[in-house]
Symmetry: C2
C-alpha cells in the first residue's frame, strides 16, 4: 500500500483534473487518505436510509465510492420497490448480497447472498420462499457511509458489514448459543434475473471460491468470488435444498452451509472479494484489498474514502437537515458507475470475453438516460480524474460492440431507455479536457451512435423527426436525438468537420418540426407530416405513446441546447413563461396507465422522473428567474426529505441526487454538454468546493438587508456581476467566489 | 508454419513417446505432414457414416484428429438417437453446427448452427420448429475424413465442409438463382441444452463475431466464434424470428441472416473459428489456422492429418470390408478428447474462468467411464505425445475443482457415470512414461478421488463395499472403485508409500465381499452385511438397481485387476469357465425397464455397453482361450458392421471403436492400468504399427497348414513363445514381431 502524503488534508490527485494525475488511473486501494476530524464528522450527515423507502430504490448497505461491491441487506419481497433488494417498509431479511443497484426501476444483481443463522438449514428454509427468513427491527439497525449494522434476534447474531472497492467484509457476533452457521446462496435472484450456472469449491476449512452465472436484465453476467473466514468451518453443499457431497458443486442453483459450531462471542469475520473475470481475479482482489481480518481497519478506510469525497464540498450552514439531505445526495451521487475491473486491470467486456488494460480503469453501470443530465457533469467537477476512465470504459464498450453504451449493466447493453446519451457525456468530457482518448476516435464512436438503424434513429435521419406511426415514443426520441446531435455537432466543429457539423446541426433543430403551435406542445407527426390525432397533453401510457415515461406536458421542454429556439416557437418569452407557469400550476391529473415512475408532481411537472429535471432552470434564462428559484426551493424542500421515504422517485443511479447537489449549490448544467452552469438559488450560507491544484470555488449567500424576499437580487463571480445568469465550467475550476445576494 | 522434415513418411514426433518430443506440446497446425499416396488411399477405408444409424450416435461431419471443431449436419429430430445431431434415418437438415459429441448417450453442444438457404427467412422458418428445414438425400451426400458434402435441392446449393483444429470451413455453391443467403442461429440447441445468452456483431461486410453461452448437460459452456466470408454480405439480426436492428445483438436466442445476393456459381466460402475463452481467441485461432479462403487447401491438410493418424496402423490384407471397419474404428478413436485451448494457450477452466498455459495443451471431453477401458490405452500406443497433455488437462481440472474429472464435458463435471476412472488413465500414463507431472502431485490427485464423500465412496471405505440400502448402483460402484483403488495402490507402491499401498490394496479386494457363492454372481449387500433379497441376475432398471446400466450377469466379471481372484471365488477355473460360457449362451431376456444402452446382446453379454468389454479376453487367461477367440470374432463380425447402422451400441466417444481396433490387432488391455495386453485373435494378415523412434511392431497371422480350425495355435513374440498369453506395453513399443499361428 502506498501512502500518499496529501497536500493539506487531501491529495491533489484525489480531486480531479487530468493535468495533475495524467499518468495513472484512480485506484482507491492505493490511497491511504489522511482526513481531518471535520471531514469524518461530515460522514454523520449521510443517512444511507434516505431513499430506501417509497420509490427511491436506494440501498442502505456498505460501499465505498464507485465500488464494485455494495454489501447490503436483502428483503424477501420482490415488488417494484425492492429493486435494490431492500425497502424500508420491510422487516424480514434473507441475508446480505454483494452487488446492488441504486435507484433503478428494474432489478438485477444481488449476487452471492450470505446469511448468518442457527438451526437446521432445511428446517429454517422450510417455507414458501425456500430460504431462511429472519426478522429485524429498524431500532436495531444502523448505516453510515461504508458501514451497515443490524441485529438478527432470531439468529442471536449481531451483523456488521463494511466494504473495500472489490470486497465485502462481514462481522457476525453470535451470542448465547454454540450453533454459528453461515449460508452462502448462489441461486438467490430477484426480478427476472436468475442464476443459470453456479459453482462453489472449498479450498480449505477457511476458504471457499465460486462463481454465479446469471441472466436477466443483464443478459450474461458472470460473477466470481472468494470468501475467506477467520474461523474454521465444516460444510455442506446443497442443490436447491438437496444435500450434495463433494469438494465442489456445479449446478444451476447451489447453496453451502458453513458450520462454525461454538464460537460464541468470538466475532466471525468473513471477507468476500468479487471479480467479473475469474476466481483468480477475485483472489488477487482480496489479497490486495483485505490482507487481514481486521474489520475495524477496513471500516475506517471505507469511512476515510467517503470523507475524502464528501469533503470536496465543505458546507457552512446551520441547517442540519439540509446538510443531511445534501451530503446524502452527494453520497448517492458517488455510487456509480461502478468499478468493474480487477486490481490487475482485467475486465469482462461487452463481447462476453475477458480483456486487460493498464491504461484505464473499467467502469460499468452507465444509466445514461438518467445520468447524462446532472450526475456526469457533477463528476466533471468533483471526480474529474475518473471521467477519463469512464469515457475510456464507454469507448472500450464501443470497441467491443460497435456502439457506445446506452444503458450498460455489467457490460451488457440493456437498451432499456432511449437516446444515445453517451454522446453528451463524452463531448462534455472532451471540452472540459477530461479525456485522453484521441478526438477522432471519439467522433467516430459518437457518429456510430447517431447513424444506427434502430429505435427510429434512421427514421429520424430520413424524415427529420421520428414518425409516430412508425416508431413508439417518437416525440421523446426526436427531442433527445436532436440534443445528442447538437453535442456531436459541437465536437464536429471543434475538429473542423464542417460537413458533419452542418449535418448534425440541422438534425439538432428537428425539435422545431414537432412543435404544434396550436396546442403549444411537442406533438407527434405521422410519416405524412400530419399531427397525430386524439392528442391530449395529459395522457400517459407506459411505452406505447409518443412520450417516454411521460406526457406532452413533461416532454415539451426538452430542448436543453436551444432554449431561445424553444421560446421562439412559443412566440417569445411571454407565452413561453405563461406555458411554463401553467406546467407547475395546472392540475396533476393524468389519464391513461400512469407508470409509478411519473412521480413527484407539481402540476404536470414530475420531478420523480428525469425528462423535466432541467425545466426549473429554464426560468433562469428569462426575465422571471425568481419563478425558477421558487420552484427549485419548492422541489428541494418537498421532493427531497430527510427521511427513508425522502426521494420523490427512483434515485436512478444518482441522477435525482445529483440534481439536488447542483440545486443546493446554486447552479445547474441545463445543457449538460455546453460546459455552462445556469444559476438557480443556493441553499447554504457557504459551500467551499475543493478543486484540483489546490483551488477552491466558494459559493456564498449574503443578505443585502433585512428585507430580503428570498429571491436572488444579484450574483457576482469574483466580484463582477454574472453575465446571462450563467457561469462556465472553467469559471468553477479556476477557483473563485460566486456570491448570491438576496 | 513450420515444415517438419519427416523421417521416411512421418515425423518421429507425430507418433508418441515423450522422449522424442519432450519439449513441445502437439499442435497439428504446426505440422505440415508429408504423406505417401498409400497413406492417402487409406482414407478411403474410413466411412464416417458407420455408426450414424441405429444407436451408434456418431456424426458424419468434418473434423481433424482430436479437433475442437466438428462441423457436421444437424437433423431436426431431437430423439435419443440424435445426440450427435444426426441420424442416418433422417432426410431433413437444419444446417451445420460446429461442435458435436461422438457416440454419447446424452446430447449437448451443436454450437453455432450455419445454414445456407434462399427465400425469406421468416417464411422458410414458418413451421413447428421455427427453423428452416431442408430436404436431402443420402444419394447426394458423402463423407470422408476431414470432409463432408451434401446437396440441398430446396436451396439449390451444394454444401461442402472441412475443418482445421479450431475452425470449420464451409463452401456453398449456389446455382440457378440470385438469392444466396446464410443463416447463423445461436439459439439452436438440443436435448436439455439451451442458450442463455447470445451475442453477435458485424465487424465488416465480410465478418461476424459472437458468443453463445449455454447450459444443459454442460452446466456453463461459453462458445465464442468468428465467421468470415469470401463475399460481402448485407445482414439482418433476429431475436427468435423478430427482426432486430443494430450492429450487434445481445439476447437469449439470436439469429442473423446474411444476404449475399447474386453470386451464382461463385463458391461462397465461410471460415468459422471457435474459442472457449474469448472472441479475440477465436480471431487468433482463425488467423493462425485459416489465413486464406482456399477450401481445397484446408481440406487437403485435414486429409493429411488423418492420413498420418491412420498410417500408424498399416494393414496388409485383402478383406476390404474388415479394413473399412478397422480404419473407421481408428477414425472414431481419434475424435476425442477434444482440443480445448486456443492457439495462444488460453483455455476455459472448470472454475469457469480463463487460464493460460504454454506447458500443455488443454483437452476436454473425457468420457472416462467408457474410455479408460481401451481408448486411453490405445492412445498410449498411437498418440503417446498427447497423453501427457491429457494427463495435464485432468490435473488442471483437479487444480480448478479439487477433483480429477469423472465425465468432463467442456470443463464441466457432469458426474453422469460412476467410478473415478481418471485414476487408471493417469496410473497407466505414469508407468508407461507418458506424463511429465510429478508423481507426488499425481498421487495426491488420485487419492482425492478415492477419498471423496459422495457417490458411496465414503461408504465403500467404511464398510468395505457400498451397501445397497444406502446407495444406488452399489455393486457396480464397489467393483469399479476396487479396480481404481488397485491402480492407486500400484502407484503407491512405486512411490514407496507403504501405508497407502496397503490401504488401497485392501480396498481393491473388496469385490470378494460381494461375490455370492450360492448364486455365482456379484450381488448387493445391505449395511448389515445381508444379501439383497429378490435377487435376479437378469433384472435391469435404469439407475435404480445395484448395477449401472446393466445386471448381475454383466457386472459379475468386473475384476480386471484380479482375474485369478475372481476365478477362485467361483471355485476355480472350471466353474468360472462354465459361468462364462453361460453368460454368452443363456437367454437374452431381461426383466425390468431395459435401457437402450444395454444392446449388442450375445446371451446376457451386452457388447453395446462398456462393463463387459474386457470379458471375452478373460478366456485368454484360461486353458480355453479358443472360446474367447470365438467370441471375439463373433463380436467383431456381428457387433461391428460396415454399414451406417454398424455399431451395436453408442460408440461412447470412441470406446466401442477402440475395442475393435485392439481386437482386430489381436490383443487387448484387459486390465487397462497394468501395462499388459492379453492376446486374442488377429483379424488381418499383417498390421505394421508405426512407433516412435522409427520402430515398428508387426502383428502377423500365419497358417501352420491347410487344416487350420481358425483358432490360434501358437503366438510368438520376436520368435519366442508368448508367456501367459500376455505381452507388455514395452514389448510393443520396443518394436518387434508378434506372430499368431493358426
Amino acid at each position: 500500500m502506498k501512502k500518499h502524503i496529501l497536500a493539506g488534508a487531501f491529495s491533489v490527485c484525489a480531486f480531479g483534473g487530468l493535468t495533475s494525475c495524467a499518468t495513472s488511473t484512480v485506484d482507491d486501494n492505493n490511497l491511504e487518505p489522511v482526513v481531518s476530524s471535520f471531514d469524518i464528522q461530515t460522514l454523520g450527515y449521510v443517512d444511507p436510509f434516505i431513499g430506501t423507502g417509497g420509490h427511491g430504490h436506494t440501498f442502505p448497505g456498505a460501499v465505498v465510492p464507485f465500488g464494485m461491491v455494495q454489501l447490503s441487506p436483502d428483503n424477501p419481497s420482490k415488488g417494484w420497490d425492492w429493486t435494490s433488494g431492500y425497502n424500508y417498509s420491510d422487516n424480514q431479511l434473507l441475508g446480505f448480497s454483494h452487488t446492488h443497484l441504486s435507484g433503478t426501476g428494474v432489478g438485477d444483481l444481488l449476487d452471492v447472498l450470505v446469511m448468518p443463522f442457527r438451526g437446521e438449514y432445511n428446517q429454517r428454509a422450510d417455507n414458501d420462499l425456500g430460504r431462511i427468513v429472519s426478522e429485524y427491527s429498524h431500532e436495531n439497525e444502523s448505516a453510515s457511509p461504508g458501514f451497515y449494522q443490524v441485529s438478527l434476534p432470531d439468529e442471536q447474531v449481531e451483523a456488521e458489514l463494511t466494504a473495500t472497492e472489490r470486497s465485502g467484509v462481514h462481522r457476525y457476533t453470535f451470542s448465547g448459543h454454540d450453533d454459528a452457521k453461515v449460508l452462502i446462496d448462489l441461486g438467490y435472484a430477484q426480478n427476472f434475473d436468475k442464476s443459470v450456472a453456479t459453482f462453489m469449491r472449498v479450498l480449505d476449512d477457511h476458504t471457499l471460491v465460486g462463481y454465479r452465472i446469471s441472466t436477466g436484465w443483464s443478459d450474461f453476467q458472470p460473477t466470481y468470488f472468494i470468501a475467506q473466514f477467520n474461523q474454521p468451518f465444516s460444510y455442506q453443499f446443497y442443490r436447491e435444498g438437496e444435500p450434495q457431497a463433494g469438494p465442489f458443486i456445479n449446478t444451476e442453483k447451489s447453496e453451502v452451509v458453513l458450520n462454525f459450531g461454538d464460537i460464541a462471542n468470538q466475532p466471525l469475520v468473513a471477507k468476500v472479494a468479487l471479480s467479473y473475470v475469474s476466481i483468480d481475479g477475485a483472489k488477487q482482489n482480496l489479497a490486495a484489498e483485505v490482507p487481514h481480518f481486521d474489520f475495524d481497519n477496513i471500516k475506517q478506510k471505507a469511512q476515510q474514502l467517503w470523507a475524502v469525497q464528501l469533503a470536496k464540498f465543505k458546507v457552512t450552514d446551520n441547517d442540519e437537515q439540509a446538510k443531511r439531505k445534501f451530503y446524502t445526495a452527494l453520497y448517492h451521487s458517488f455510487l456509480a458507475p461502478q468499478t468493474f475491473n480487477d486490481i490487475d486491470g482485467s475486465y469482462f467486456g461487452a463481447d462476453g470475453s475477458a480483456h486487460n488494460s493498464q491504461e484505464f480503469k473499467r467502469y460499468s453501470l452507465f444509466s445514461l438516460w438518467d445520468t447524462f443530465r446532472a450526475l456526469h457533469p457533477l463528476l466533471t467537477i468533483s471526480n474529474g480524474e475518473r471521467v477519463n476512465d469512464m469515457v475510456s470504459s464507454m469507448m472500450a464498450f464501443y470497441d467491443e460492440t460497435g456502439l457506445l453504451p446506452s444503458w450498460d449493466l455489467m457490460a451488457n447493453e440493456t437498451d432499456v431507455m432511449i437516446g444515445y446519451h453517451a454522446v453528451p457525456v463524452i463531448v462534455d468530457a472532451y471540452f472540459k479536457g477530461l479525456t485522453k482518448v484521441a478526438p477522432e476516435q471519439l467522433f467516430q464512436a459518437l457518429k456510430a451512435s447517431a447513424m444506427q438503424e434502430r429505435f427510429g434513429i434512421d427514421l429520424f435521419a430520413k424524415y427529420g423527426y421520428v414518425p409516430s406511426d412508425l416508431e413508439v415514443e417518437a416525440v421523446s426520441k426526436t427531442l433527445e436525438y436532436a440534443f445528442d446531435d447538437w453535442a456531436i455537432a459541437r465536437l464536429a466543429k471543434a475538429l473542423n468537420k464542417e460537413k458533419d457539423y452542418q449535418y448534425f446541426s440541422q438534425r439538432a433543430q428537428s425539435f422545431k418540426t414537432l412543435f404544434d403551435k396550436q396546442t403549444g406542445f411537442m406533438r407527434g407527426k405521422t410519416k405524412t407530416g400530419d399531427w397525430v390525432q386524439n392528442f391530449s397533453p395529459t395522457h400517459v401510457d407506459h411505452r406505447t405513446t409518443d412520450y417516454t415515461e411521460a406526457n406532452a406536458w413533461q416532454y415539451t421542454w426538452f430542448v436543453p441546447h436551444d432554449v431561445n429556439g424553444l421560446m421562439a416557437l412559443f412566440g417569445g418569452e411571454a407565452p413561453f413563461l405563461e406555458k411554463l407557469d401553467t406546467l407547475f400550476s395546472t392540475d396533476s391529473f393524468m389519464e391513461g396507465d400512469v407508470s409509478p415512475d411519473i412521480s413527484g408532481l407539481i402540476g404536470q411537472y414530475a420531478h420523480g422522473n428525469e425528462p423535466v429535471h432541467h425545466v426549473p432552470y429554464m426560468y433562469s434564462l428569462t426575465s422571471q428567474k425568481w419563478k425558477g428559484e421558487q420552484r427549485i426551493k419548492e422541489i428541494r424542500d418537498t421532493m427531497y426529505r430527510d427521511d427513508p421515504d425522502g426521494l420523490s422517485g427512483n434515485d436512478d443511479v444518482g441522477q435525482m441526487s445529483a440534481w439536488y447537489v447542483f440545486s443546493a449549490l446554486g447552479f445547474y448544467p441545463l445543457n449538460p454538454a455546453d460546459g455552462q452552469y445556469v444559476l438557480g438559488t443556493p441553499q447554504f450560507e457557504q459551500v467551499d468546493i475543493q478543486l484540483p491544484k489546490n483551488k477552491t470555488f466558494t459559493v456564498k449567500s449574503v443578505l443585502s438587508g433585512e428585507t430580503s424576499d428570498g429571491y436572488v437580487k444579484q450574483a457576482t463571480l469574483n466580484g463582477k456581476p454574472v453575465n446571462m445568469n450563467t457561469i462556465s465550467h472553467n469559471d468553477v475550476m479556476q477557483g473563485g467566489e460566486l456570491v448570491f445576494t438576496f
